[in-house]
Symmetry: C2
Subunit: 381 residues, 2 copies
């Protein structure tokens, strides 16, 4: 491990690109002839290849889940607090595989990649993806890595939807399924938030119906508003109140139209939106929110989640957070109820937290961390 | 009453414009030299002038609260179900005054009006308004109508904030104050939703920093997204689920990028946004959400709502709705607690409803209607 990094960090990591030449058949009916996945791995695959853990990322995530890319790196990967030596996902026991999903914008084949048929960015012609497409592509990756069966598939939010789909699509290839802050399908309200975010992007005149790269343009303001909508729904009212209250940026109530940002929460959200819009691809955002909206675990099982989960062969850990109102504990309890009625082995924990949906990403939540670690440590490898 | 209208309707009504030539001093330090208010009245002012009820409108409301503008009018005013002969606000007893607030876009002086100093639309130069400015302008209107004291001031949401401010600014001029689905100040989350909506408008390139009229332009897509954000937060998750579920517009899961509107909730929200953006002024929307954000009942009373309410001389009815998550029952209970500690006469009702914040506008909610009517009927005129 590189010297300047914390002792419990995995240290320096570097992503690797895996090219795939066999076509991937997609749920939409189209197929991708050639595609690539960007992947990071942490820890060592054991001789029996029985200690592999797959990390599935959420809406704005990517392959860089833990460790640092350089010694100057100011921030580690997005789940660094939960992946590393001695951490919940203990890299001294597990071989952790973390990828950027297809359709992403961090190196895996996506709407900003070059379409080999045209030599130009895919843009709006990139096929629509479903959660199952990601799972199928992840299975091809597992084949390439020689992993027959995952010790665990782990994810939060949209990531957990991939984990549940894994348990149904490849039951014999999953030993444990960790479902954090998720749902079997979105509510109408959730779909409405996503649709409003997409509208913000699509109505930006720099969007060019998705072909902004061909037009040397970027729908930054639309994407920024979209991110603001998302971000604020991932926080809880209480948590925001505690963090920002009604604090004024300037400390007074005088204001001119020249600088209409007065409340701290406004400048915070605006900053989040602007930062995100510089680093994320708008078509990817649309694609990922669509995949979220369309995910419906039990659709092809006659809308019966019990019938769906009967296909699973793994054990489950389900975690929710009390202040998460976009993927509320009620949604997790529905998962748990269906699993129990399907006679599956399930541990459920509802974690007291004021961080809303973002709680699953946030460090230093003792009970979450301990419970997550306790479950993972009991997994036999 | 005109024949084609329902018996319990106030029938045909027509708005009147009241010009004011004395300058209105505003909280921001500026003043409006000349200004107009558009007003509708329903019922008859009695000889003692003791039966006048003021209706204060919310974010997107206006003066047309009840009755019809013509025999062909398909829809009555926005609160028609609660204002009329025999209704909660009974026009056979009360003389009801309903206005479009200053800064509005339905006829009263606002950002789209002509600035007499330039001969051009005010646009971004229209002064910022606070809730107290509306209350002061409404007091001038009361003077003009010869109303010394309101039998009641009544409003929902932002309208109720005006009512509470009335009770503090002109205690001797209010007998009853009806506060529906409101709060003494917004939470950080509420401010964040408003800010995101404003961002959507301001980042529309057709906004021209507020001078879109001068540029013969309209920020319709930004305003449409802003309205979608607002609208969806006025509905409850459950209510939306019941109304739309995850119903598909097309009835199937096949889709192309050509028509990405698939879920019913999406087409509903998009329609709401587009309709609104054709009839509402973007600067007014910004101005009204700002007034909402800045409202803080007790700010100049050392942040002590009990001290604030001690100034009131009227009686209070406070109503909240169980599924309202933007102005939750908790906020109303805070009002009630402060009123009780200030030794004021207050009736509080928490109405079971799945309609979210919009519940205060929606007809046919029996308990709400009955309780509202019972309270109003006991008011002596």
């Amino acid at each position: 491990m590189s010297k300047p990094f914390p002792e419990d960090s995995i240290g320096l990591v570097s992503p690797q690109t895996y090219p795939f030449d066999e076509p991937l058949e997609l749920a939409c009916g189209k197929s991708l002839a050639q595609w690539e996945l960007v992947v990071e791995t942490y820890g060592e695959l054991n001789a029996e290849k029985s200690n592999a853990v797959l990390i599935c990322h959420a809406l704005s995530g990517h392959h860089h889940a833990a460790g640092y890319h350089s010694e100057d790196d100011k921030k580690p990967g997005w789940w660094n607090h939960y992946i590393g030596p001695g951490k919940a996902i203990d890299t001294s026991r597990f071989y952790v595989v973390s990828l950027n999903n297809l359709g992403g914008c961090h190196g895996s084949t996506g709407p900003a990649s070059i379409n080999p048929e045209t030599g130009k960015p895919w843009g709006k012609d990139f096929p629509n993806l479903r959660v199952r497409d990601w799972v199928h592509s992840q299975a091809k990756l597992a084949d390439k890595l020689g992993i027959e069966k995952w010790a665990a598939v782990v994810g939060g939010s949209l990531g957990a939807m991939q984990c549940m789909r894994w348990a149904l699509e490849y039951p014999e290839r999953v030993a444990h399924c960790v479902v954090i802050a998720s749902a079997m399908k979105l509510t109408a309200q959730n779909i409405a938030f996503n649709e409003t975010a997409r509208r913000a992007i699509m109505s930006d005149p720099h969007f060019f119906e998705g072909d902004y790269l061909l037009n040397e343009s970027l729908p930054s303001s639309g994407l920024s508003v979209a991110r603001m909508i998302g971000h604020l729904t991932y926080l809880s009212d209480d948590g925001m109140g505690k963090k920002f209250g009604r604090e004024l940026r300037s400390g007074s109530f005088e204001r001119g139209r020249e600088d209409p940002v007065e409340f701290q929460i406004e400048s915070y959200l605006r900053y989040q939106g602007e930062t995100f819009s510089k680093s994320f691809d708008a078509n990817t955002y649309i694609l990922m929110t669509r995949a979220l909206d369309y995910f419906d675990l039990a659709r092809e099982y006659d809308d019966d989640p019990v019938a769906a989960f009967r296909h699973a062969l793994c054990k489950f850990l389900v975690i929710s957070f009390t202040s998460d109102w976009r993927f509320s504990p009620e949604r997790s309890r529905e998962i748990v109820n269906a699993l129990m009625r399907a006679d599956k082995d399930v541990v459920y924990a509802e974690i007291e937290s004021s961080y809303g949906h973002d709680a699953f990403l946030i460090p230093n939540q003792v009970r979450y961390q301990e419970l997550f670690a306790a479950y993972m440590n009991k997994i036999k490898v």
